[in-house]
């Protein structure tokens, strides 16, 4: 921590284009804040250090004990604070989820978002598989969550959704996910159900056409929702695979290394995986990307609700609000 006087001198010097102070004076300004210089190996210094060692040893020990004590106290209060904060957020989230419930009605969801300044065209979510859950319950829950989010997206008229799940479990059950999503959409929309296409990188897409009523031109709702399922192997591994391919091509003399540009890599990765999402929703309590494709996340707005645990409409709604730069409204 610099003394205000030193800061003032520094700023005055800076204003004058560093003409005021000579390098020596600047050093003098800094001297009191510097760590002690590395010990010189000369005998005398060594001897004195030895003498000091015992006295300093006790002092250092006491200082350490004091710091340890402060550390424990701080962490005690901090974990208390976090527990209170978590409890508080849980209550607030519960209240607001009662207040802002979607009631499985597309119109209500659309009402929530229709006045927003902008909506993401491509929404991305990170889901986690509960590996401790017994039997297939973890998978069933995951599919249920994915279908819920798909239904909210379709209601908010967001045409593109990508679902990231680290382990890639969802990828193995594409038909099941697809079935669950179409059922969910039918339950939400009834006769106006939009079509849904679901795919994973390097997997063929499974499509359903929109119902007749939904595909009519005068219908202004969403006609088709495209869903992309991603996993950790679409992140770093896809970049590694691209590098392998490029290395192979370069070995055969098909490309020169100067051909490898940002545009080329971007084109390849968005072709084989996906483009950049506009908004990324995290349903966990902290901001951690758990292996989400790094290339695509460049300018993506990242949204999470503090201390939230699990998928719910609140996170979705607040993420959209934040994306539009809007405030939470407590009345509809």
């Amino acid at each position: 921590m610099f003394k205000p006087r030193a800061i003032e001198a520094y700023r005055r010097d800076e204003k004058l284009g560093h003409q005021m102070l000579t390098p020596e004076e600047r050093i003098r300004l800094l001297k009191p804040y510097l760590p002690s210089p590395p010990l010189h190996p000369s005998e005398q210094a060594n001897k004195r250090a030895m003498e000091n060692e015992q006295r300093l040893g006790v002092r250092r020990f006491l200082k350490r004990q004091w710091h340890l004590f402060v550390f424990i106290v701080i962490h005690f209060f901090f974990s208390l604070y976090i527990r209170i904060r978590q409890a508080y957020h849980q209550v607030v989230n519960k209240i607001s989820s009662v207040y802002h419930h979607h009631h499985r009605a597309p119109d209500l969801i659309y009402n929530d978002v229709k006045d927003l300044r902008r909506l993401p065209k491509h929404l991305s979510v990170v889901l986690t598989l509960d590996e401790d859950a017994r039997g297939g319950t973890g998978l069933a829950k995951l599919i249920e969550e994915a279908s819920d989010i798909a239904a909210w997206c379709a209601s908010a008229r967001i045409p593109q959704l990508s679902i990231y799940e680290k382990t890639g479990t969802l990828k193995g059950y594409l038909p099941r996910v697809h079935r669950s999503m179409t059922q969910k959409l039918a339950a939400y929309f009834g006769p106006n159900t939009p079509g849904v296409g679901i795919r994973a990188p390097h997997c063929p897409s499974i499509e359903t056409a929109p119902t007749l009523a939904a595909s009519r031109i005068e219908n202004d709702g969403l006609k088709h929702l495209s869903v992309m399922i991603l996993s950790a192997e679409d992140g770093r591994d896809s970049i590694v695979d691209l590098t392998k391919t490029l290395a192979d091509m370069s070995q055969r003399g098909k490309i020169s290394t100067s051909d490898i540009t940002i545009e080329l890599v971007d084109a390849e990765l968005s072709e084989s995986v996906m483009g950049e999402p506009d908004l990324l929703l995290l349903f966990g309590p902290r901001v951690e990307l758990v292996g989400y494709p790094p290339w695509q996340v460049r300018l993506t707005e990242i949204s999470h609700v503090q201390d939230n645990e699990g998928v719910n409409y609140q996170v979705f709604y607040r993420g959209l609000l934040k994306y539009a730069g809007a405030q939470m409204r407590w009345g509809r």
Partner: protein, 356 residues
């Protein structure tokens, strides 16, 4: 009016020697205390909000950047005292070249002057044991700035205790592309023959002569004569032409003389670690904490490769020039708390595995 008086009285109070002494003591104690827990090894900062800070305080933009530099010095001091090994800061994005020219020039000037001062006081950094590195696209910088950067980097390169990475014209996509390019370059260089008792060339020639006329096919670059390997991690490959030759990585060069055999390292051996080694941050420990100030919740093309796994991200509301120990402590505490929780969860899951 009363507000003004209050702030003056507060300033006078903070500046009074006893208050100063207490605050300093408090800072030292807090840092010393935090050091008792786990300490992140690598922290990255996006120094965002200098311009907005300047606008909200009605000062010149460049003035805001100067205050931002002071905040950086403060943060570095804190990190140094805590024992953080590597600090990476986002000083200038390639995109920032689109800003008004006087601002870009001002920033360049700021960087140049600061680095020059650093060189003048080279022995100070020795005391810290800190080395400075500048990461980014060097070609975009003017020669005079480059020269200063090179001198600063070379005067401090022998300091081993901690590292300051300054990302100066940097974007993460550029970094990743460069890493891919240099990996490809490495793998397209014919490797020097290894000192084994067997000559690879001889073996290849023998295989070639056995295959007889088949070898002529390979001149045309046709892959069909070779059996493509069943590669287990190939589901994700980008293109359909990824048939590789792990068994016979040699290829007949274009001029057709079969004696002139170039041996390439096997491209299938490229892993994430290989690319990692070609990143600007190759020898730095993994990124533990990512801090972005000014309330924007985006990565903005910074450290994408490094932070997309288990880095904890913190988006803070304050502007960068305001950033101080008081903003950093909650971040550090929360990180330590989660570290503790993670360790406990790991122990728990291990026990569950044991009982199962």
């Amino acid at each position: 009016m009363s507000d003004l008086y209050l702030s003056r009285i507060r300033n006078w109070f903070i500046r009074s020697p006893p208050a100063e002494w207490i605050i300093n003591g408090l800072r030292e104690t807090l840092i010393g205390a935090l050091k008792q827990g786990p300490i992140p090894r690598h922290v990255a900062f996006v120094m965002d909000g200098n311009r907005r800070y300047a606008r909200s305080h009605k000062i010149e933009t460049i003035e805001g950047h100067h205050l931002g530099f002071e905040a950086l010095a403060r943060v570095l001091e804190i990190c140094y005292k805590c024992g953080v090994e590597v600090v990476t800061v986002y000083a200038f994005s390639i995109e920032n070249f689109n800003r008004p020219k006087y601002e870009v020039d001002g920033l360049m000037q700021l960087a140049k002057v600061k680095l020059e001062q650093l060189i003048q006081h080279g022995e100070l950094l020795e005391r810290y044991g800190a080395s400075v590195r500048v990461l980014g696209e060097r070609d975009l910088l003017s020669d005079d700035v480059l020269e200063v950067i090179d001198r600063a980097v070379s005067t401090t390169k022998n300091n081993k205790k901690c590292i300051l990475n300054i990302c100066f014209p940097y974007t993460s996509r550029e970094e990743m592309t460069t890493a891919i390019r240099s990996t490809v370059e490495e793998y397209s260089k014919s490797s020097a023959p290894k000192s084994t008792p067997f000559s690879q060339t001889r073996i290849t020639q023998k295989i070639m002569s056995k295959q007889g006329d088949k070898s002529e096919n390979s001149e045309s670059g046709d892959a069909s004569s070779h059996t493509p390997t069943e590669s287990d991690d190939n589901e994700d490959s980008m293109s359909s032409t990824t048939t590789l030759y792990p068994d016979s990585p040699s290829r007949v060069s274009k001029d057709g003389s079969s004696n002139n055999v170039t041996i390439y390292p096997n491209a299938e051996n490229i892993t994430a670690e290989t690319i990692d080694k070609h990143m600007y941050t190759a020898d730095c420990p993994p990124l533990d904490i990512f801090v972005r100030t000014s309330g924007v919740e985006r990565l903005s093309d910074f450290m994408l490769w490094q932070c997309h796994q288990d880095t904890q991200m913190f988006f803070l509301k304050c502007f960068w020039p305001e950033f101080d120990l008081w903003h950093f402590i909650p971040v550090l505490l929360e990180w330590q708390w989660r570290q503790k929780k993670k360790a406990m969860e790991e122990v728990g899951s291990r026990q569950r595995v044991k009982t199962a």
